[in-house]
Amino acid sequence: MSSTLISNYFREANLPHIWCPGCSNGIVTRALVKAIDELGLDKNKVTVVSGIGCSSRAPGYLDFNTLHTTHGRALAFATGLKLANPDLEVIVITGDGDVSAIGGNHLIHAARRNINITTIVFNNNIYGMTGGQYSPTTPTHALGTTAPHGNIDKPFDITQLAAAAGATYAARTTSYHVNQLIKYIKKGIENKGFSLIEAASICPTYYGRKNKSGSAVKMMEFLRDNYIDIKAYDKLPDDKKIGKETMGEFKEITLPEYTDEYLRLIENLKGAEK
């Protein structure tokens, strides 16, 4: 028994999902489906690609064309799918480790090409699937099983990295701010080019336990209380910025899209001698 949204877009036979109690993966996945529903996309064209990770298990639950690839490579597979058939509406679901550790290169190149793929990053600041190792977004000093003495790495800002690499739409919000998340995902899908939407997420099981962040509810409260719109943030005095994270739309521009340019190339050569 489930809502019409769920029964319309999920493979109910595969539910309930395997995610832990309080894990925000379900929230973000539902937000994606809600965005797709509101946009009225053709289910047969929607293609959801993921890598490996807890978050990357999402496609298995979704009633679209779904592809669960190798760790970090979702965007490379997705690039092939999209270029081979530009009619597909390609959406990539990925984790912070998947997209910014092993998959960092594919992220910046997909962004650079401005290929029309919408990437949703489930950023829980940890490798959930393998049990709590620090990821490239784990905050400095936080704990992970491979950072038992405190993380000395500096975290990526994935949204800004994607923007710098060439994404034409880049936005971040949290799994608490779900309506905003749905809105951003819709805008990302509508953007004709590479879009990245980062959803700050929670992993109560590993990140939470290791860092004594409290229950899933506490972690959601943290998201609610500490993420501030970038415009508001910029106006804060420096001492008020400490400990705060930014959200909002970081980039929104228009540039030629990769598969469009390729089709134009084909068009231009028509009739020419081979």
Binding site: P16, P21, G22, N179
Partner: protein, 69 residues
């Protein structure tokens, strides 16, 4: 289905008892039972805002029609 017919529906089988919907319901409509499963404790207070549905990680609560509790 008219808006009037909508109400909070739950699927206990899918609920994992995280308490998120309980915590963020603006009207304290929801609670966890002693098996740590969701229940509608105070239906009358519900304003059908849909916050619970938005944030339930397990698709175990939503606004809809028909289903009896």
């Amino acid at each position: 289905m008219t808006a009037k017919d909508r109400k909070v529906i739950i699927n206990k089988d899918w609920c994992k008892g995280c308490g998120i919907c309980v915590a963020f319901c603006p009207k304290n409509v929801l609670a966890l039972d002693h098996h740590d499963k969701i229940e509608v404790a105070n239906r009358d207070a519900c304003i059908l805002c849909g916050q619970c549905e938005l944030r339930c990680p397990d698709f175990a609560i939503w606004l809809g029609g028909e289903a009896d509790e």
